[in-house]
């Protein structure tokens, strides 16, 4: 994995004003993957949007990590279902007219 696309966890903690422990918990929950390179912890930049979602859900809604994990799983399911629904709608057009 290219190091260019990795972001230092400590930087993120300062940026979002959260504890490092949040990242290790997110890692334990399987929400993000923490990579260790030369004794430093990183996450992939693609996971930033997930981290922000988690921070917002914690700050705005007081949801604990178990709840956030459940919400994220359900949102993934909704997204998959929406994709499937779009595909079915497109296929249905084959039989319309």
């Amino acid at each position: 994995m290219s190091k260019e696309k990795l972001i230092l966890v400590n930087q993120l903690c300062a940026h979002y004003q959260v504890e490092v422990s949040l990242f290790s918990e997110l890692h334990d929950f399987g929400i993000i993957e923490i990579l260790t390179i030369e004794d430093s912890y990183f996450i992939h930049e693609d996971k930033i949007s997930v981290v922000e979602k988690v921070v917002r859900m914690q700050k705005d809604l007081n949801i604990n990590l178990e709840g956030i994990d459940t919400v994220l799983n359900l949102l993934d399911k909704i997204n998959d279902l929406q994709t499937e629904l779009d595909a079915v709608k497109n296929r249905l057009q084959l039989y319309e007219d």
Partner: protein, 296 residues
């Protein structure tokens, strides 16, 4: 600025306690939070409204001012000052509070909530709002990769639309959304494609389907036909004794595969055999003769 009934927005009474407000706000926030309702503009609007109501009503001082001065609550200090001066000079006072609640447009209190200005919770930097847009294209447009300029919130964005995008497909274009909060990065543009099909082809993923009429004689005796495809005209050999409903596959003559240059789906042709109508006497005679021959 029009008056907003914050109590009505939260669905609580004027005498509600701070605990009631907190509880109601949490409940509504969980229901309408944009992270829990992606791509739902109504929820986002509602969330802004309940946030605004909560910001005012959960703060005891602001709530007092709001209860007293209604729509002018932000100018409460100025009113109080003016009142004191008036009392000193005239000894009388007109109550400025208002109870004329009206259904009106959302105020600009949280205008910047999702566009970069407001600071939620200290100096935390947040990514800007993701903009959602729908791009309507014709099926013919997406047969080939092309460039297009979109105007989103008054800003022109030049995009390359890859060949083969599907109806309903959503793509995320990084940093083309709203400004970040407290110096956070810009949001993304989430673009949904709505693809109208005005062609004779039906599309399912990368495959195309079309019905082609052939006359009875070509169906029975076989022959050659020419059909139009997205790639141009294609000659097809019709086998003798082709039945109506027969399907043929034209490999690689379908739709381009998204982001796989040079790869195409297939084109499936279904033959529809057209029976002759308005037969003349001679033709009827010949068909009768044929029928007799077939029945022997």
């Amino acid at each position: 600025m029009a008056f907003i009934d914050y109590y009505k927005i939260l669905g609580i009474e004027k005498k509600s306690t701070q605990e009631d407000i907190k509880k109601t706000y949490r409940k509504l926030a969980r229901k309408y939070h944009p992270d829990l309702n992606p791509n739902d503009k109504e929820s986002e609007k509602k969330f802004k409204e309940i946030n605004e109501a909560n910001e005012v009503l959960s703060n005891t001082e602001n709530r007092k001012k709001y209860d007293k001065y209604g729509k002018d609550w932000k100018h409460a200090d100025e009113f109080d000052k003016a009142q004191q001066q008036r009392q000193q000079s005239h000894g009388s006072y007109q109550d400025q509070s208002s109870s004329n609640f009206s259904e009106s447009e959302y105020s600009d209190f949280f205008e910047s909530m999702f566009s970069g200005g407001r600071n939620r919770g200290g100096n935390v930097k947040f990514k800007g709002q993701d903009f959602n847009a729908e791009l309507q294209l014709d099926l013919k447009d997406v047969y080939e990769t092309h460039k297009r300029t979109l105007t989103i919130n008054g800003k022109n964005i030049r995009l390359t639309i890859p060949a083969g995008v599907r109806n309903g497909q959503v793509i995320r274009i990084k940093t083309q959304g709203g400004e970040g909060l407290n110096g956070g990065p810009k949001g993304d543009l989430i673009l949904k494609f709505s693809i109208a099909n005005h062609t004779k082809f039906k599309r399912d993923k990368d495959n195309l389907y079309a019905n082609v009429d052939i006359d009875l004689f070509k169906a029975i005796l076989g022959g050659e036909i020419t059909i139009n495809t997205f790639k141009g005209k294609v000659k097809l050999i019709v086998k003798p004794e082709t039945q109506s409903g027969t399907k043929v596959k034209l490999k690689g003559k379908g739709f381009p595969v998204y982001k796989k240059e040079g790869e195409f789906g297939n084109l499936y042709i279904t033959y529809n055999v057209e029976l002759p109508t308005k037969l003349n006497e001679k033709e009827k005679e010949l068909f009768n003769e044929l029928a007799k021959l077939r029945s022997k």
